[in-house]
């Protein structure tokens, strides 16, 4: 009878984490930034149908990077959780914090108990009526939750992008300026991204009950088309 080789738990966890990180780093990154009317989410995504950003509930959005089928499964579970909860209790009882905890639990469970960890990083974003109370829950492949308040970066090059975003971001930006900051941070100094490469959506507190709105290519083009210097002064009209 052969004894299985002893592998230290540290080594197992490290191998799994490396595996997940590699999978995530293969894909493109995504940023979420707070702005005057809420939260703007922007992903590098050449596909127009396989979405990384979507609506979960009235004021909650979901974003994921990494393996599409894995984060999409999480997205649908989140929509189901939110709609069931809103039906059984009330719409105002559905909140991002509890959803983020559920995600963390499920990702943590899979990371420690399954053969293969999920190669995803996800974000649960929520806005309220008040400016400055936006919540961004950034959840990693192993179930680690980070509560971020001004912006969040998901994906392989998170550190570099986050550093660039730190110089560009300001919570009082309008939609056009926030998009410009997000795109410049994603692209970095050497690349230029155009509307076709992007997937953009907002959680906009001026929209009434359902705050999630996807921006079409024409709209993204129009917002990006404005000269950077003038974008700080454009009125709310630019967001509509």
């Amino acid at each position: 009878m052969n004894m299985p080789f002893y592998v230290a738990p540290e080594q197992i966890m490290k191998d799994r984490a490396d595996y997940a990180r590699k999978g995530i780093a293969r894909g493109k990154s995504l940023v979420a930034v707070t702005y005057r009317d809420g939260i703007l989410l922007c992903a590098e995504n050449v596909s127009n149908t396989l979405r990384k950003i979507s609506e979960i509930y009235d004021r909650i959005a979901f974003a994921g990077v990494g393996k599409y089928n894995e984060f999409d499964q999480l997205r649908i579970a989140g929509v189901r959780h939110a709609d069931l909860k809103g039906y059984a209790y009330s719409r105002q009882d559905v909140e991002a914090r509890s959803l983020a905890n559920q995600y963390a639990q499920i990702l943590g469970q899979i990371f420690t108990h399954e053969m293969k960890p999920m190669e995803v990083e996800i974000l649960v974003a929520e806005i309220t009526d008040e400016v400055g109370t936006e919540q961004l829950f950034h959840i990693l492949y192993d179930g680690t939750v980070n509560d971020e308040s001004r912006w969040s970066v998901l994906g392989g090059e998170a550190e570099a992008i986050s550093e660039r975003l730190g110089d560009l971001h300001d919570a009082d930006l309008d939609a056009a300026a926030a998009l410009r900051a997000a795109v410049d941070a994603l692209a970095g100094p050497e690349r230029t991204l155009v509307a076709d490469d992007l997937e953009v959506a907002t959680l906009d507190r001026t929209l009434g009950r359902r705050c999630f709105r996807r921006l079409g290519i024409a709209e993204v083009d129009a917002l990006l088309g404005q000269p950077r210097a003038a974008s700080g002064e454009t009125s709310d009209g630019a967001a509509d």
Binding site: T49, R51, S54, E55, I56, Q73, L74, I76, A77, G78, V79, R80, H81, D83, L84, K85, G86, Y87, A88, Q102, Y103, Q105, I106, R210
Partner: protein, 285 residues
């Protein structure tokens, strides 16, 4: 009531996945919807059950107008003066209900959730035909209750983004779905309301003329049917009137509806209509 799936994230195996259906999800979660549950009490005294009454819908040049009065009755009593019977369903459609208020409102709530859930899970909204069919299935599921006296008979109308026109649908208790070309009315005052719309209807009506016609229909129905509420000028309660076109569902605000009502009353007054038959000269002679 146990809420098994609220304890964790609802995930399903491929063979039992409810897909984009919210009612399917409810069933899988052990929370079956109350609408159409066959174990409702046997027929008893339903005079205490609140009923909603008259709703109308008609097509116009740019879409459809829907309107409903605000009265709910229980037997011969008025149980609510400001109930609402017209609700949004998705971004480009509305549903108007007549019948037992409790099951009707629950059905509307489920229908709204069903459409929104579908849109979120699938990433795109259900077609207008798909929506009309969903409602038909919900009405059919309520048949057992309907036969015991808890009727739910909705009207459904919306803007069809594929055909680029307004469309409207009428239902019967068995879930039968009938698309109407011009107008539809439902509820206890539907005979009178429907007749008024029928006489005033022209294809390609201006939206504002369609609103006036709907308001006039509800006014005349309230005049003839005790269960239909007219405009309540004292309390400032007016029917719910909504306009649905390519831009979506839009409820007219109360001052706007009030203005239309006052215009209608002024017109009736000027005509020397029924409302003001002068008897004094006859008495003197």
């Amino acid at each position: 009531m146990s809420l098994p799936l609220l304890r964790g994230l609802p995930t399903f195996g491929a063979d039992e996945d409810p897909g984009p259906s919210f009612t399917g999800l409810l069933a899988a979660a052990g929370l079956p919807a109350d609408v159409g549950r066959p174990d409702v009490a046997a027929p008893g005294d339903l005079s205490g059950v609140t009923h909603g009454t008259t709703v109308v819908a008609l097509r116009h040049r740019d879409g459809v107008v829907m309107a409903g009065d605000r009265r709910a009755t229980a037997g011969n009593l008025i149980s609510h003066r400001s109930i609402e019977k017209v609700y949004p369903a998705g971004r480009h459609a509305g549903v108007a209900i007549a019948g037992a208020a409790g099951p009707s409102m629950e059905m509307v709530r489920l229908f709204q959730l069903q459409l929104e859930h579908y849109e979120k899970v699938e990433g795109q909204p259900l077609s207008l035909d798909g929506q009309a069919n969903q409602l038909s299935q919900m009405v059919r599921a309520n048949l057992t209750s309907a036969l015991r006296g808890l009727l739910v008979v909705p009207l459904f109308a919306g803007w069809d983004e594929r055909r680029r026109c307004g469309r409207l649908f009428q239902y019967d208790v068995t879930g039968g779905r009938y698309e109407e070309q011009d107008y539809a009315a439902g509820g206890s005052g539907s005979l009178h309301a429907g007749t008024v719309v029928k006489l005033g209807f022209r294809p390609g009506l201006e939206p504002s003329a369609a609103v006036d016609l709907a308001i006039s229909a509800l006014f005349q129905a309230a005049d003839e049917d005790s269960a239909t509420g007219g405009p309540d000028l004292v309390r400032g309660i007016f029917p719910v009137v909504v306009d649905i076109d390519a831009d979506g569902y839009r409820r007219l605000d109360d001052p706007q509806v009030e203005e239309r009502f006052r215009a209608l009353l002024a017109a009736l007054d000027a005509d020397g209509g029924e409302a003001h038959i002068e008897r004094s000269s006859g008495d003197a002679g």
